[in-house]
Amino acid sequence: MKKGRIIQFCYRKIIDNASEKQWEKYVFESSYKEFRMQAQLYNQDKKFRTIAEILHHVPAAERLHFLVSPSITGYIQQLKGIVPDVLDNLGKHFLHFEKYRFEIINSDIQDISHHQVAINFFSEPVEWIETIGNYMLITRSHEKADEENRLTHLVELKPFFSIYSLKEEV
């Protein structure tokens, strides 16, 4: 049998003022509210408006990414471990994540429309068997179609969806 490679995907989901789904709007609003609260720790004189300014003048404010992340923990849990948006070629969500990392890309304490965050979802390890055109044929280790055959998924790489780590089987 052909030896596969074990990979982890990263899907970087960007959420901003243009996001339309209800889940995204909740994440957008909750993280903005928390950002406004936590940013005051590093902006006590109210001299700065944007996170870029705060980070430039107060290096310790790098902690803001972490400090704001509890505002979205409940919404992450509602995903029940399934990476959103990423579909296989049958149009089904199939990718499970084990870890994620929240970060603030832009924000402005006076203007929510400038708020933009990212959630990086790191997938469980999956086996990459073959590349067919623009698609990767992958399989989850424990999913079987029947006794002899493993269940596979065809997945296309797209912007903001990438391979994060690789281990070659020997």
């Binding site: 929240f102 970060e103 790489l157 990438s162 070659e168």
Partner: protein, 245 residues
């Protein structure tokens, strides 16, 4: 190893057409992404972004529900072990004859018994142990269940407190100090007897509040809490903080 890497890259480039974009996509650097083109639309559009991508073929849902910040909790211990401590913090309003301030949001955070704070480490866990948020009741009071904090180089034992009004605007950012004299909780916890509870640093190299950058000017001990109890029974910290609301 190098050979296999080349082989991988070769296969990868044959298989995927938009590699440079993809490599950019998972960088965590803020600056590099803020400048990327069309990031908002592409990312938030998600499944619908590509012109030739399949559309979802599943039943919609589950529907999201509003979820409060996970800071909101009274028991802030998570997985942290140590000597039990209850914190009772009362907030009073100096703009109203120091009467109790109801409805104020109180954030607290402190280090664990070894002197570490929860933060993004090298891993990707999203633990925020020993951090919590409560809203003051009609008596201006909030309670937290936690552990007695340890200490780290250069600082006296302390609790961080950030008080907000109901709208989330900052009213006060301060810290609570602990009594440190003979017979104090700090001395007991960091004694030989405290080692049985995992507090192994002792008092050697400890920075007392009188030498502490934050507390050394607090000669009136406004920032110092009352801390009573025992190693086996745990401690109760009681403190009042005045704010201008």
């Amino acid at each position: 190893m190098e050979q296999s890497r080349k082989k991988f890259l070769k296969n990868f480039f044959i298989g995927a057409v938009s590699v440079p974009v993809l490599i950019e996509a998972c960088k965590k650097d803020v600056e590099s992404n803020s400048g990327s083109t069309g990031s908002g639309n592409t990312g938030s559009g998600g499944s619908g972004s590509g012109s030739c991508a399949v559309a979802p073929t599943e039943t919609e849902g589950p529907y999201p529900t509003h979820s409060p910040s996970s800071y909101v909790r009274s028991d802030i211990r998570d997985d942290r072990t140590g000597i039990a401590m209850t914190m009772n913090i009362t907030v009073k309003n100096t703009n109203n004859n120091c009467s109790a301030l109801a409805g104020a949001i109180v954030d607290v955070w402190h280090c664990d018994k070894d002197g570490n704070y929860s933060e993004y480490g090298t891993g990707y866990t999203n633990l925020h142990f020993l951090r919590g948020r409560q809203t003051t009741d009609a008596n201006g009071l909030v309670n937290f269940t936690t552990i007695f904090p340890g200490w780290y180089n250069g600082r006296a034992t302390h609790i961080h407190v950030h008080i907000f009004n109901a709208a989330g605007n900052s009213l006060k950012i301060t810290q609570i100090s602990f009594p440190e004299g003979s017979g104090s909780a700090v001395v007991a916890v960091n004694s030989t007897a405290g080692q049985a509870y995992g507090y192994t640093k002792g008092m050697s190299g400890y920075t007392y509040a009188t030498s502490d950058n934050i507390f050394s000017d607090d000669t009136a001990l406004v920032e110092q809490a009352s801390v009573v109890g025992s190693l086996s029974g745990g401690y109760v910290l009681t403190h009042t903080i005045n704010v201008a609301a």
